[in-house]
């Protein structure tokens, strides 16, 4: 979905023609598939989150959920990927194993997944919107000439069984719902942490359908020369933090971000910021919170001086408690925050820090 649409029209009216009908040969496509991404031998958490979503969609459609694992037999991660797929609700698993698939490369993975789809015809295929997932999804969708909706924030099925994929649009000012009307599978990618982590449901390993890659190494042009893991000993754990404090343009200067960080440290949380601050270079991109940054699902989210546009909103909506501080009583963040504080964050943050410090150390004789 590109901005070409609606360019010439002022009101956003759907130009979706009702004339699009699913061609006969796609009417047999059935079942929901989730691509299980393996990262250094570990199942990427986003695949688990998608299994949860996939299960819900499959239940609504009355069909099966399948996990798709692509890798090499030598990798123990493949075993656990299969186990996890069933543990989180899959009815069956598809497996393509080959030494050619030991490291991610676009060609063999695209062939493996595309071949599986052509042979077994799912109606829905979900992938995590990681760098691997996006690299793979685009190739597969083009190979299959089917529709792919990226970075969805919500997935559902309509009464007629079609996938309704919702995502932000127009730079994050609005949301839109996208359908793939006349081809299958309907593909969608979802960023990590956008969907909730489901509960483990079953431990039994179900049927595994194997498939051969049918490629030889000589055919594959790109070779992996090596892999350099990130040096950082301390990974920024924003996506999984229980407590997050973030600053936006309302805090005024880069120096004031110190107050955000101090408060975060005081209450044992992580700190981050909204997109404009990253664009200004005040904070690194790994700390960006929002649709194109990190999606977070903390127990407590404290937003200081953030206006709360849609693209930020979808990145934080999963938080249990949102406390928003903003001088503008009309800021959109107050539409979805749980506690709305109309005040100057710059003044308030140190006061909050001091008050928390007092509260958390009652036996220490601390004055403000």
């Amino acid at each position: 979905m590109e901005a070409h649409q609606a360019e010439s029209q002022s009101p956003i009216v759907s130009r979706a023609s009702a004339k699009k009908e699913l061609p006969r040969h796609f009417r047999d496509n059935r079942h929901v598939w989730v691509f299980i991404e393996l990262e250094r031998g570990q199942v990427h958490p986003v695949s688990i989150e998608l299994l949860g979503e996939g299960r819900k969609l499959a239940d609504k459609l009355g069909v099966q959920l399948a996990g798709v694992v692509i890798g090499t037999a030598e990798d123990l991660g493949v075993r656990s990927a299969i186990a996890e797929a069933f543990a989180y609700g899959a009815d069956l698993a598809y497996l393509v194993e080959s030494p050619l698939l030991s490291d991610y490369r676009n060609e063999p993975f695209t062939k493996a997944l595309s071949d599986l789809v052509i042979l077994h015809k799912p109606e829905i295929l979900l992938l995590g919107a990681t760098s691997l997932g996006r690299d793979l999804a685009g190739s597969v969708a083009t190979t299959l000439e089917t529709g792919l909706t990226a970075d969805c924030t919500e997935l559902d099925v309509d009464a007629d069984g079609s996938l309704a994929a919702t995502r932000p649009t127009f730079g994050g000012s609005l949301l839109c719902t996208i359908y793939t009307l006349n081809s299958r599978p309907q593909m969608a990618t979802v960023r990590p942490r956008v969907m909730a982590t489901p509960k483990r449901v079953t431990h039994a390993i179900g049927p595994i359908i194997r498939h051969d890659l049918m490629m030889i190494e000589e055919e594959i042009v790109t070779k992996v020369l090596g892999f350099l893991p990130d040096e950082r000993s301390e990974k920024i754990n924003l996506a999984y933090a229980d407590i997050v404090v973030a600053g936006g343009l309302g805090i005024g200067t880069a120096e004031n971000l110190e107050r955000v960080m101090v408060l975060a440290r005081t209450i044992g949380g992580e700190f981050g910021c909204s997109r404009p601050l990253v664009q200004k270079g005040w904070m690194e991109v790994d700390r960006q919170i929002g649709q194109t940054g990190q999606t977070i699902r903390p127990k407590l989210y404290l937003a200081a001086g953030i206006s709360g546009a849609v693209q930020h909103r979808v990145g934080v909506e999963g938080a249990d408690l949102i406390v928003a501080i903003n001088t503008d009583s009309n800021a959109p963040i107050f539409d979805f925050a749980h506690v709305a504080v109309v005040a100057d964050a710059v003044a308030l943050l140190p006061a909050l820090t001091a008050a928390f410090t007092r509260r958390l150390a009652p036996h220490t004789n601390r004055c403000k």
């Binding site: 759907s14 685009g138 790109t222 975060a264 408690l321 005040a343 003044a347 909050l352």
Partner: protein, 282 residues
């Protein structure tokens, strides 16, 4: 070398406002910019051209005003530009877009097919990152996305080595030309075009190609008709049903306000008190 850079003109999303009454996008006066991610791709292309010689052609699919984006690209130093614009392209999703652009690339009339097609990581209005892979698949180019560094190019052996960003680290990949490279943001600093480049850009006659000029006969693969995905609904998110608890600041007294906030937090989430523990995270 022949290098093609695919760019897109996008509205400066930071300045888009939604009409408070009709919920339409207020496009008037919103400036358009070259998709910021594309600029990193452009600089990589220009660097390669400066090093190995050859030509950088910039291509975009868009409405007539997208010519301004191409002019800007020329002003940075690109050699040629082509605008792909036809009402048949209106409503294109990423599949239809990659179809049209791929066809145009084949028909650029370059002395030899491009060794590298560059794109940015994604657009700030679509955010899908799908058109690049689409072009790679259609033109049978080796697909190298999230590239952070072009380590070496051997034109004679038609080989290229790159560093690619993946989860938790960097892959070192060796591949062959021709390839499609999507460049990660922040990997270079876009140069300032010289006066000569700027003058050339201001005077350039940028051709507009309709579908036929791009060698496209299959109109059914373009525009709305060629787009499997369709936007059915655009809407503003609904405010939460439960209104937020309002806490207002009176008389610049932070003290009582702060206490109220903390009380409110613990009321909602009594379990949190246990979680609060100062940490030494820097």
């Amino acid at each position: 070398m022949n290098i093609v850079v695919c760019i897109k003109q996008v509205p400066d999303s930071a300045q888009i406002r939604v009409h408070p009454v009709t919920n339409t996008i207020m496009r008037q006066g919103v400036p358009t910019i070259i998709n910021p991610y594309d600029l990193f791709a452009l600089e990589e292309a220009l660097k390669l051209r400066d090093r190995y010689g050859g030509k950088v052609t910039v291509l975009t699919m868009g409405p007539p005003m997208a010519k301004q984006a191409l002019e800007k690209a020329l002003a940075y130093g690109a050699d040629e530009a082509v605008l792909l614009s036809d009402r048949h392209f209106a409503g294109s999703d990423t599949l239809a877009t990659s179809f049209a652009i791929s066809r145009a690339i084949t028909n650029l009339g370059l002395r030899h097919a491009p060794e590298i097609v560059f794109t940015g990581k994604q657009t700030i209005d679509g955010d899908t990152a799908q058109v690049g892979p689409g072009i790679a698949r259609r033109l049978e180019l080796q697909q190298l996305t999230y590239v952070t560094k072009i380590v070496s190019v051997d034109l004679h052996a038609r080989e290229i080595t790159v560093e690619r960003r993946s989860e938790g680290g960097t892959q070192m990949l060796k591949s062959q030309l021709p390839c499609l490279i999507s460049v990660l943001e922040g990997v270079n600093a876009l140069r300032r075009g010289s006066v000569a480049d700027a003058l050339r850009a201001a005077r350039a006659q940028i051709p507009t190609w309709r579908a036929a000029d791009a060698g496209i006969v299959e109109i059914a693969n373009c525009g709305l008709r060629g787009s499997p995905t369709v936007v059915k609904r655009v809407f503003a998110p609904t405010p939460r049903a439960e209104k937020a608890i309002q806490i207002k600041l009176n008389d610049d007294q932070c003290g009582p306000l702060v206490d109220e906030i903390i009380a409110s937090i613990f009321e909602h989430q009594p379990a949190l008190e246990a979680s609060f523990q100062p940490n030494g995270l820097t």
